[in-house]
Point group: C2
Chain length 260, copies 2
């Protein structure tokens, strides 16, 4: 089983949380891949550089200046800090953007109602290199950046990358997708941190959306989870990033997404 | 023969020059490694972030804020732009900092007269991973960052890294170190761009230093070149980055550093 773990920008931004997460991540047994965000850090550095952040439906509009910011923050600052910290934990991590080794080929999102700018929709995951690294006991750490093969880096959502990587690898190996964030799982009541929904099926997802229990950023997260399961991923866990190894080794921790 | 090519910050900063360099680099026959700088870009972004750049003897003093800047600019912006552009040239490039795959282990420079801050002096190059990548037709693109194995990224001069990588690999394979910059080679007269010194031996180096023909930033560059030759590198070329493939394939282009 290969665990493909995604951790979001809220954890990355906070040094103490990041350290706790990485210690837990390091304890995950077997082969593993880390895909990280960094949105909040990008927003912070953009502001310091006088660049305004524009989000539409939870997605970052990426003009030329913002592309430089996300390339720096995701591919540089966040990725290298994580890799160095994992090395200190005796995990032989290796950071990658989608351009590195051509692992994530994408195309610039076609403009419909909204022009997201330099945002990439994934065409292909090069699993060969990822599996070669894993088989050499290297832990790939993937920044949420793809490339178009024509020289352009593109900004791609980390959840989408995690889902696509897990799906692509599931053709060759058994995979589990693990989405770590600030909460203990998907909650019935956002004010009640222990109200974790243990299991979500496609039917329950529809019901929760209709009743507005599941809203906003959680919707694309769950859509990605179901897409991953449809394309061969064995299981998806949504759980607290700070307890990521427990969520993987224990069955009653976090929210499990299943097809039935 | 493995060509280990270093390109400096002056080329990286200028998009047109960078593109010309990368086109030429892509034409180098056989196995190759690229080590890049990015100092001018770091200075530019630091200024935009309100962080002052402090250089002592051509080396950047790296406090906490500057470490974030160089991690972002070297490991993110410069490295990923180069990798994406090489992918467009059908070169399967893969960007690395010294923390990635633990390829460059260093320690924080001991404070003597000057406290350079988070600057790393190299202890060890992990050639195993670099050779594995080369043997898989991957071109490593190395940012001038090392790590201390205790979780800290360190700022390390790109010339020093290029020299250390070439020396370490020369134990196992034949290597040539190629230092590309803005000029056609080491010049007798800085005002006369064609006054290239074709060959420099250790004795000539001492003479040129005494007569002030060779000064400033060129001194550590040549010291690194001689150190590389002493430790097994077959040849060192100092040449125009925009004509890097000619300098490698033709004998009368650039400055050649030899032991005698």
């Amino acid at each position: 089983m290969i665990n493909i773990v995604k951790v979001g920008g809220g954890i990355i931004e906070n040094e103490e949380d990041l350290s706790t997460f990485l210690t837990s991540f390091s304890k995950i047994p077997g082969k593993k891949i880390l895909i990280h965000g960094g949105g909040r850090l990008a927003t912070k550095f953009a502001a310091q550089l006088g660049i305004k952040t524009n989000m539409i439906e939870g997605r970052r509009v990426t003009d030329d200046a913002m592309l430089d910011v996300v390339t720096m923050v995701y591919g540089g600052l966040a990725n290298k800090k994580i890799v160095a910290a994992l090395q200190a934990n005796k995990i032989n991590a290796l950071g990658l953007s989608g351009a590195d080794g051509n692992i994530i080929k994408a195309h610039k999102r076609v403009v419909k109602e909204v022009d997201y700018g330099w945002v990439g929709d994934i065409d292909e995951i090069n699993t060969g290199l990822i599996l070669t690294l894993l088989d050499n006991n290297i832990v790939p750490v993937i920044a949420p950046l793809s490339h178009d093969g024509k020289g352009k880096i593109l900004n791609t959502n980390a959840d989408t990358i995690a889902s696509a990587v897990a799906s692509a690898i599931s053709i060759k190996r058994e995979t589990q997708l693990v989405l770590g964030f600030e909460l203990d799982g998907v909650l019935v009541d956002p004010k009640e941190k222990t109200s974790v929904i243990t299991k979500i099926t496609p039917q329950l997802f529809e019901d929760y959306k209709k009743s507005k229990v599941i809203t906003d950023g959680m919707i694309p997260k769950l859509e990605n989870a179901f897409a991953a399961i449809s394309s061969g991923v064995s299981a998806v866990k949504i759980c607290n990033a700070l307890k990521i190894s427990e969520a993987i080794t224990e069955h009653n921790v976090g929210t499990t997404i299943t097809s039935d």
